[in-house]
Amino acid sequence: MAQNKVDINLLREIADLEGTPKGAYNIRKNGQLVSRGINANIDIVTKDDKPGIDIIIKDGTKNQSVHIPVIITETGLDELVYNDFHIGADCDVVIVAGCGIHNAGDKKSEHSGIHTFYIGENSKVQYVEKHYGEGEGTGEKVMNPRTEVYLEKNASITLDTTQLRGVDSTERYTKIVVKEGAEAIVMEKLLTHDKQKAVSEMDVILAGEGASSRVISRSVAQDDSEQIFYPRMIGDGAGFGHVQCDSILMGKAKIQSIPAIIANHPDAQLVHEAAIGRIAGEQLLKLMTLGLTAEEAEEEILNGFLR
């Protein structure tokens, strides 16, 4: 797998990859397949009707991982990719996705990934997604991911999504349908700076008895950036849902956080918490009394917050 320095750096940033990943993988660069690895339990097939892949994981596949990073180094590239995950019953797998754009030119580079997960009964999935942008060019780096998750009975997913720096514009939509006894945990971390814009919209539908979900969103908006959150927790069954949105404002940034909890069932239990504010002065002072400068203190506070 020939890679240059830019590719290596992008892959490290988005997937912690230093070479060929273990387990199954599919690496895509500038709209083309670079390399793919499959095994007895995990198959990856290129779609023939539209761009994208099907990832098929057999029943009972445990302790295995799938890496599907996408990197873009060509300015002006605009792609829309459909990735469908068909995960059988009784699985325990880690899926690492992510997109890194290095835009050295003056044209917009855009990646829109539409990920759909069908997760079988009693299966456990950890999905890790990182979005990252870099490059000396003036061209915008845009990512508009759409993620849909359908959890069968007693299945669970942890969606761990991170976008720290470098992405000029993002519009994210996440929809999760949680059936009886299933659980969805969403941890969303976002840092925007300069004039970046980020919108994250989410619908979590608690569809069955004992369905549960926690959405934890932590964001930092710096400089003149803007963020908008619309997490909606919908109790269609006797489930439990908790939405927690915490944001730190810096510079002249703007944040809107509009969580909604909607109960359509008399036994639904739904909670939301949302907070936006600057870093508390007391926190900075405390860390300064430990010998940190104000700048170092701020960095430590942000690192902890976005861990």
Binding site: E282, T289, L290, G291, T293, E300, I301, G304, F305, L306
Partner: protein, 251 residues
């Protein structure tokens, strides 16, 4: 040695004037002494401690630490000179773990055992806490004890604690006084504690009484305790019964 010379601190009040919080504090604390600052609420004790750390900038006077004038130094600079300050009401940090805070305090990476030893000294069962987040899931007393542990983790020549006993249960308090006794036993740091607790006062070499922004008494514990007991016993007209009777007569 810590020397405070004519230290004053004024704040603007709502009426457009100024209020004197510290009214010319003169105080010398010799190396490796254990000093307890006590006195009535609102007398200026916390302001005095915060001024030493640099959390408040004095309006006048001078602060010398080991002969160096630190009056205009930043908090960070003072911290780097080995001055530490335990907050009365420490802040919480979302996402930051107890271990992170201890490591920032000590300035190095710590092993789990090292983290545990600091937490044990404040009566926390370390294994339960090292990886906990410093957020609202911790009680006030827990945060307070972790705060003290961060001060213990710091290499410092001057340890300042503002009411370390506040919000701590009786069992942890016993552990804390024992820790203070051990630290002082080594005679390696100067310790200044703001406290009203007899068991902490009992550990002190010297007591400083601060009232109305002034040092009203300063001396060896044995001498000062007599005055403190005498003054607190007679300090309240209500307890003496005089005021109520007088008011009844007037009414």
């Amino acid at each position: 040695m810590l020397e405070l010379k004519g230290l004053t601190y004024q704040v603007d009040n709502e009426g457009g004037g100024t209020t004197n919080i510290l009214n010319g504090i003169d105080l010398t604390v010799a190396d490796n002494k254990f000093i307890v600052i006590t006195g009535p609420n609102g007398g200026g004790k916390t302001s005095l401690a915060k001024t030493i750390m640099g959390l408040y900038q004095p309006t006048g006077g001078q602060i010398l630490w080991n002969g160096t004038d630190i009056t205009n130094m930043t908090i960070t600079e003072r911290a780097k000179l080995g001055i530490s300050y335990g907050f009365q009401q420490p802040p919480r940090f979302k996402g930051m773990r107890v271990r992170d805070l201890l490591e920032l305090a000590s300035g190095t990476k710590l092993t789990r055992d090292e983290c545990c030893s600091y937490l044990n000294r404040v009566g926390l069962c370390a294994a339960d806490y090292v990886d906990r987040e410093m957020d609202t899931s911790l009680s006030g007393g827990e945060v307070k004890r972790i705060e003290i542990a961060t001060i213990l983790a710091r290499p410092s020549g001057l340890l300042i604690f503002d009411e370390p006993e506040a919000g701590i249960d009786l069992w942890s308090f016993a552990k804390l006084t024992e820790t203070f006794r051990l630290i002082h036993g080594r005679r390696e740091n100067t310790i200044i504690v703001i406290s009203h607790q007899e068991r902490i006062i009992d550990l002190a070499d010297e007591i400083v009484m601060v009232s109305d922004g002034k040092v009203v008494r300063h001396g060896p514990k044995e001498e000062l305790m007599i005055h403190i007991l005498a003054e607190t016993g007679n300090g309240c007209d209500f307890l003496r019964g005089a005021t109520c009777h007088d008011q009844d007569k007037e009414g």
